[in-house]
């Protein structure tokens, strides 16, 4: 999903979980807790998106009834309908395009640079293994964290599957390159 699109509904969702309204600081904390596991949150962007949601009438800023006269964010009926439509609409995530930087390198490297290309593949494999390691570290932290990591675990599962596929592809590419251009050690 496009980042802007996703963050918009993610924030709308967080606001909707506070039917009585939520003030800015609590909203920031909740965003970190709920989304921070899989989203690099830039709070400048968060507040810009909140402003936009308010302009479109999907959330409203009202004065808190009690204690202070702090402003709180609350979802509107229009916002709730928009969120419901989003939740049930088919995801817009597109399958990965048939495009890889490595493929471009392969097209123009030529057999003379096979050894270097194989080295690049090793380099890429190393990066993916590190990514898997970090995902594992993340999963482990989640296992010991006092929050429900159900959705984050699903995301980690998905990320692991795609890294696994990339690694299998790299193995395949290096095997086929060796077969085609037989390298002498």
């Amino acid at each position: 999903m496009r980042h802007g699109h996703g963050i918009r509904y993610a924030l709308l969702g967080v606001v909707s979980q506070n039917p009585a309204g939520v003030h800015g600081y609590a909203l920031k904390r909740q965003c970190e807790r709920i989304l921070g596991n899989f989203w690099q949150l830039n709070f400048g962007e968060v507040y810009r998106v909140l402003d936009r949601l308010a302009q479109e009438g999907l959330i409203e800023q009202v004065l808190a009834e009690s204690e202070s006269n702090r402003k709180i964010y609350r979802i509107t009926d229009k916002g709730q309908r928009s969120l419901d439509r989003f939740i049930l609409a088919p995801p817009t995530d597109a399958p990965r395009p048939l495009r890889q930087e490595l493929a471009v390198k392969l097209l123009f490297a030529g057999p003379g640079r096979l050894r270097e290309v194989l080295h690049l593949i090793d380099h890429q494999r190393d990066a993916y293994m590190r990514q898997l390691h970090l995902l594992g570290v993340h999963r482990r932290k989640l296992r010991h964290a006092p929050v429900d990591g159900f959705v984050t675990n699903l995301l980690i599962d998905g990320a692991e599957l795609s890294v696994r596929a990339e690694l299998a592809w790299l193995d395949d590419v290096s095997q086929k390159l060796k077969e085609r251009f037989t390298v002498t050690p």
């Binding site: 899989f38 293994m129 390691h133 594992g136 984050t152 998905g158 193995d171």
Partner: protein, 241 residues
């Protein structure tokens, strides 16, 4: 410390030889958790066999805590396996006519340890793998994951310096495999036992601190997997978008 110095292992004779390990050198420090990956037939399991003294190298030396395994008599190699090296396999190899605790205690019984000591060590090992409640059950009444836990307890009961795990998740589903890997990781951290894991699964290899990738018996790639400073500390992996 496990050290390979220019180790080559050739199986067979004359025209039908297979070079399973080819001039392999590495030094795995005590307490480390390393993984060995590579395609089938790349020599992964042979590396473990060489460490356990199950087969001698054709050339080079295999050192376990400074002792050259290649120069050991078969009795010395057997003692190494009985007292210092725990082995965990894809097939759990539990004896079906013995209970879990009897299976776990078997290496100590074979080594002539007295029964009261066996009982205490079995209890300790079963607790480490969270299998105390299954002590009196027979292997056929255990799930695959529980059988592997029992097999890991059997490897740990000797209080080994090294655990060699050859595709320990191979017969388990994803969740079961993950649980076994979590356990192996915890054991490595808690007991500082050196772990060498052979696996073809990159997700499980990534549990380790270093991955050796073998191709045709040689070291193709050596990948260190440190936690990058400041990386996922409080979780800011960008998994979407």
């Amino acid at each position: 410390m496990i050290e390979f110095r220019n180790v080559t292992k050739i199986f067979g004779a004359s025209e039908t030889t297979v070079r399973a390990v080819n001039d392999l050198s590495f030094a795995c420090p005590r307490g480390a958790f390393w993984a060995i990956m590579g395609p089938s037939g790349s020599g992964k399991s042979t590396v473990l066999h060489l460490i356990a003294g199950l087969t001698p190298p054709t050339a080079g030396s295999v050192l376990v805590d400074g002792a050259n395994v290649a120069k050991m008599t078969s009795a010395e190699a057997a003692a190494l396996r009985r007292r210092r090296v725990g082995y965990v396999l894809q097939t759990f190899n539990l004896l079906p006519f013995l209970t879990t605790e009897e299976n776990v205690g078997m290496p100590l019984v074979l080594d002539g340890v007295k029964q009261s000591e066996v009982d205490a060590r079995v209890k300790e090992a079963l607790a480490m793998v969270s299998m105390s409640h299954r002590a009196a059950h027979y292997p056929t009444h255990l799930s695959g994951g529980e059988q592997q836990r029992a097999a890991i307890a059997r490897a740990l009961v000797i209080r080994p310096a090294i655990v060699l795990a050859d595709e320990p998740t191979g017969n388990l589903d994803r969740a079961g495999g993950r649980a076994i890997m979590d356990l192996i990781q915890d054991i490595n951290e808690q007991t500082r036992v050196t772990v060498l894991l052979v696996t073809h699964d990159p997700v499980f290899a990534a549990y380790s601190q270093r991955v050796l990738r073998l191709v045709d018996g040689g070291l193709q790639q050596d990948m260190a997997l440190p936690e990058e400073p400041g990386q996922p500390a409080d979780g800011d992996l960008d998994l979407v978008g």
